[in-house]
């Protein structure tokens, strides 16, 4: 079975992904050295989750300039009982995300894999970004120069051995 990328995409977006989608060159690879049962894992969701106590992602900026998206990130606790979640994302329905955040940030299932001994542990703080980045002139630069390195540093500081990204 081959997943159809376009199954749930609005038809007017199909042509963008079917033709001339920009392709990066090269390879990104790091071998996973540890046994999973001894590894500490981190999660990253692009669903725009944040704690009520945190500044939401900047949706007003996007409303003013629709080609722009907030490239900042938020750290979310591994313990789901620490802090109530909110969603700041104009491109997905927040209702199911708030009904069960595990559909995009599977902290509960990860805890279950840890309990079973399949995974060694989880970081204390996972990562949340808001996936719509538009195509403003500096969008890629902000990610390559600021957000990406900052997230990598956050996770290395916590001793993460691997990261599972969940695009929303």
């Amino acid at each position: 079975m081959r997943v159809n990328d376009l199954r749930y995409l609005p038809r007017m977006m199909h042509s963008f992904y079917e033709a001339d989608y920009p392709v990066e060159r090269g390879q990104v690879w790091a071998a996973f050295e540890k046994r999973v049962s001894e590894a500490r894992l981190a999660l990253l969701s692009s669903a725009g989750l944040h704690l009520h106590s945190q500044q939401p992602f900047d949706l007003e900026g996007e409303r003013r300039e629709p080609t722009w998206g907030d490239s900042s990130y938020r750290m979310l606790p591994n313990d789901p009982d620490t802090g109530e979640l909110a969603v700041a994302h104009l491109h997905v329905n927040p209702e199911p995300l708030l009904a069960d955040p595990n559909i995009t940030l599977p902290r509960g299932p990860l805890a279950e894999l840890i309990d079973r001994g399949w995974v060694g542990g989880a970081v204390d703080q996972h990562v949340s970004v808001m996936g719509y980045q538009g195509w403003h002139d500096d969008a890629l630069d902000r990610w390559r120069d600021v957000t990406g390195p900052a997230i990598a540093t956050e996770l290395q500081t916590q001793g993460a051995d691997g990261l599972i990204l969940a695009p929303a």
């Binding site: 007017m12 990066e24 080609t67 195509w135």
Partner: protein, 99 residues
């Protein structure tokens, strides 16, 4: 969600699921599917031996396509979708600027 697109952006390891946007690990409350998707991702993370490894999960979404399609959409159209409905040329502008 869109593993072929992820591949164009050099994702080193991928798990494909044919699920509506926002529902990467399954339906709310469906812990069994959430666990299966995550366990597969962990297996690919640790077990893949080469760049671009991709595993697609053969899981059927439990809602009819139309219902699922409507359910993932935000209550109001995003600013960009509103723009594109009014000015479809802006999408072409994106392709030029990224390349």
């Amino acid at each position: 969600m869109m593993p072929s697109v992820a591949a164009t952006q050099l994702a080193p390891r991928m798990v494909g699921v044919e699920f509506p946007f926002g529902h990467t690990f399954g339906m709310p409350g469906d812990r069994r599917t959430q666990l299966r998707v995550l366990a597969t991702a962990v297996t690919v993370l640790a077990g893949a031996t080469e760049f671009g490894t991709r595993i697609d999960l053969d899981l059927e979404w439990p809602q009819p396509r139309g219902e699922a399609y409507r359910a993932w959409h935000p209550p109001t159209a995003s600013p960009m979708v509103s723009e594109m409905l009014e000015h479809p040329w802006r999408l072409n502008g994106r392709q030029r600027s990224v390349q």
